[in-house]
């Protein structure tokens, strides 16, 4: 099964994503000569938590179990491809919720062993970054990864994505979700909070602004926002103020990292990158530093199978290394800066 060398100029990869609320399968085609890729088909199903509560790992994994056969079948069908035509099978191996990760891993192992295809574990966060770069076509960006699981500023150096700044406690997604749930929204709450903020009277309610060098901290901001609810502050104005404060913190640390690294591109990826106010702030900061902002297309800012398929294809193409089923793993806290990226220089 090792060292399957293809003579053909394209490769097909299946990516299975199941880190948190999203179960998704994607089939991508990798052009070996041009070193670019195309999403042939992608299917998703998103677990919706009851309003006021977060993702329950067990319930989410059950959702993934229930939906996976249908999603996988639909994905293969829309790609018009037989599983035997696939070159590799990949899955998100972490970081994420254990029970959810296991669903994807089990399906990937089964497919890999039944069809005798190389199995590739992929770091989910790396997937966000790599797919974002492919879709936007940027070359050497400073990356802001903002989602429910991550808040990091990254730049590539010496074979790995290095962390220039990150959150010291909550991620930006957790901040928005936990506040959203507190006011009885259902996660993910980012959209709804943005809507509230836009419709508010834009009266700013002071909230703690915590920047520690290149790092941010959101836990105090969350506590303060919650206590403002108890005091009877207007919810829409509070949503506006949370966005203004937390996004300004993020933008400031991005500008700091930009000024330090002198990069000319900024790439924003992850679920929260869909927020237009955040994009607007970053555009202004990037402009000041003579850099250009690229944001991941809306449809691919959230979790998706393509980020897994694409990263696995790049990885496999660079070293033709796969993992034996008995050694295949999931790692709930697999840090991005511990992954070697062999296809970038």
């Amino acid at each position: 099964m090792n060292e399957v060398t293809k003579i053909s100029e394209t490769m097909f990869g299946l990516g299975i994503e199941s880190t948190a609320h999203t179960f998704s399968c994607s089939i991508m085609e990798y052009d070996i000569v041009k070193r670019n890729g195309k999403i042939i088909s992608e299917e998703r199903s998103i677990y919706k938590a009851p309003s006021g509560s977060g993702i329950h790992p067990r319930e989410a994994s059950r959702h993934h179990m229930d939906k996976s056969p249908e999603i996988l079948k639909q994905c293969l069908k829309s790609a018009n491809l037989l599983p035997t035509k696939l070159d590799i099978i990949s899955y998100s191996a972490g970081p994420g919720l254990g029970p959810c990760l296991r669903v994807g891993a089990v399906i990937a192992r089964a497919l890999s062993s039944f069809y005798c295809k190389p199995l590739i574990p992929v770091n989910h966060a790396l997937g966000h970054v790599e797919l974002g770069m492919m879709l936007t076509g940027c070359n050497d960006p400073l990356v802001l990864l903002v989602s429910g699981g991550h808040t990091m500023i990254l730049a590539f150096a010496n074979k790995r994505w290095r962390v220039f700044g990150e959150t010291l406690d909550l991620t930006i997604g957790q901040l928005l979700d936990q506040f959203g749930r507190y006011i009885s929204l259902s996660s993910p709450c980012g959209n709804k909070i943005e809507e509230f903020a836009t419709n508010s009277s834009h009266d700013y309610i002071p909230l703690p602004y915590i920047v520690k060098g290149n790092d941010v901290s959101f836990s105090g901001l969350l506590t303060a926002a919650k206590s403002n609810i108890k005091k009877g502050c207007d919810i829409q104005n509070l949503c506006f103020s949370i966005q203004e404060t937390s996004f300004a913190m993020l933008t400031e640390v991005v500008e700091r990292a930009l000024s330090f690294t002198q990069k000319k591109e900024v790439l924003i990826v992850g679920g929260v990158s869909a927020n237009t106010r955040l994009q607007d702030m970053l555009t202004q900061a990037a402009e000041r530093q003579d850099a250009k902002l690229y944001s991941c297309p809306l449809n691919y800012s959230g979790d998706n199978g393509s980020q897994i398929a694409w990263t696995a294809l790049c990885d496999y193409q660079s070293n033709h290394r796969n993992i034996e089923i008995e050694n295949s793993f999931i790692n709930q806290s697999w840090r991005l800066d511990s992954v070697d990226v062999n296809w970038r220089f």
Partner: protein, 206 residues
């Protein structure tokens, strides 16, 4: 300021402030102006710029008492968020970092911490080397604190900078930095390092 525009030269557009080289009573000086950030809410922005300017001006002079070399403060205007200070014509440590400089930085940080000053933005670009003396700048995020937690955040930040921007030197430079720190501090370095570990674990996926 009534300075002719012609004599004012923008030398750096930093993340936080614009740095100008200006004539000041017959000498070269640095004018650091924290410009209005158009992306930030006006109320929030005014507050931040004013507060940081006052902090920075205070600390620049305060830390001299402990033997830390900083530029001399000439003038401060909290409303314009402007500081005018001595021009240090040296080399930025970001470009010339070595083990021995990391050691010196460690000693500096230990002195600050023993006096309960937290710098808050310990990056290599905030140190300047001139004729063998080390200048520390940019006190905008600095504050007074006795808490080990705050001291540990300072150390963690420097570690993060080394492991991202100076990855080739990371291991040796961080070791020298810690050696320098423990050689000067009265605090228990192991206790602080333990908290550094705790802070690193607090984030997700660590």
């Amino acid at each position: 300021m009534g300075i002719l525009l012609l004599q004012v030269k923008l030398i750096k557009k930093g993340a936080e402030a614009d740095i100008y080289l200006i004539p000041w009573h017959g000498k070269d000086a640095i004018s650091k102006i924290r410009k209005v950030k158009s992306y930030r809410n006006r109320y929030l922005d005014d507050n931040i710029r004013k507060k940081r300017t006052i902090h920075e001006a205070n600390m620049l002079s305060n830390v001299k008492k402990f033997g830390i070399t900083t530029p001399f403060l000439y003038f401060m205007d909290p409303v314009q968020a402007e500081i005018i200070m001595e021009y240090i014509q040296g080399t930025n440590v970001k470009d010339v970092l070595s083990d021995s400089i990391a050691f010196k930085i460690g000693r500096y940080v230990a002195i600050l911490h023993d006096n309960n000053v937290i710098h808050g933005d310990l990056t290599t670009s905030n140190f300047i080397i001139k004729d063998n003396s080390l200048f520390l700048i940019d006190f905008g995020l600095s504050f007074f604190s006795e808490r080990i937690e705050d001291k540990a955040v300072d150390l963690r930040l420097f570690k993060e900078v080394l492991s991202s921007a100076h990855i080739d030197l990371f291991k040796e430079a961080y070791e020298s930095f810690i050696t320098g720190y423990s050689s000067s501090t009265k605090n228990n370095i192991n206790k602080i390092l333990r908290v550094v570990g705790e802070i690193e674990k607090r984030g997700r996926y660590s």
